[in-house]
């Protein structure tokens, strides 16, 4: 069984972009502030389109904003 996890650097990138507020970022990408908060807390993974829009706002490639880690549970064999 494998468990996937998507992490992001949105918070860090906001601060590097003249301390952009969550509200400002939300308005630029067309979502609510609550969605930005949920993404920063890694409770919500955005759609591919929204992920690209966020990367476009920061002017960086997608992989600089989001990273994917796949943890595979190893089953011990007797």
């Amino acid at each position: 069984m494998s468990k996937s996890h998507i992490s992001n650097n949105i918070r860090k990138l906001r601060f590097l972009n003249e301390e952009m507020t969550q509200q400002h970022l939300a308005e630029k990408v067309g979502v609510t502030r609550q969605t930005i908060i949920a993404m920063e807390q890694e409770k919500y993974s955005p759609s591919l389109e929204l992920a690209f829009r966020i990367a476009l706002v920061f002017g960086v490639p997608l992989e600089e904003v989001f990273s994917y880690e796949a943890e595979t549970e190893k089953t011990s064999k007797a």
Binding site: A26, G30, V31, T32, R33, Q34, T35, A38, Q41, K43, Y44, S45, P46, S47, L50
Partner: protein, 151 residues
């Protein structure tokens, strides 16, 4: 709390009150021996009418109260309310609707089972509207839980 969460909370309170009113009227009918098909159909009409009217009024009031609170908070004459649904809101809404339909289907199945136990049709009609209201309440609760969890 986002605008969508406020709207769901208002809907939850409304439907809980309507369910309370429905149960109160059914118990009253049972106590006064007026539990008849005609009375149950009248109660159906009142309950559905109430649900529609209260939902519309609730949504309008949520908009007005949110605008007033936002105006006081920001000090602006024309406050901006985030009343649009983004992709996360839509996904949560879809999941909530799925829960509502699941409970509702289970309720319809249970209501139909009353025929197996030789119960009169008014028991089935009473259970149908009861499970309809319960399904709406459970759906609203699941939406609020999803908002709390993030998704």
């Amino acid at each position: 709390m986002s605008f969508q969460q406020k709207n769901i909370t208002v809907s939850l309170v409304n439907f809980t009150l309507i369910l309370g009113f429905f149960l109160f009227r059914v118990i009253q009918m049972l106590q006064s021996d007026s539990f008849t098909l005609g009375n149950i159909f009248r109660l159906w009409g009142i309950t559905i009418g109430l649900a529609i009217v209260v939902t519309i009024i609730g949504t309008i009031l949520t908009h007005i109260v949110s605008a007033i609170i936002e105006a006081i908070r920001t000090g602006k004459d024309d406050p901006k309310i985030e009343d649009f649904e983004d992709e996360r809101d839509q996904l949560i809404n879809l999941k909530g609707t799925r829960v509502t339909y699941t409970v509702s289907s289970f309720g319809v199945f249970l209501s139909m089972l009353t025929f197996v136990f030789d119960q009169p049709s008014l028991v089935m009609f009473t259970l149908l509207i009861f499970f309809g209201l319960v399904a709406q309440i459970v759906g609203d609760i699941s939406r609020l839980v999803l908002y709390r969890r993030g998704f």
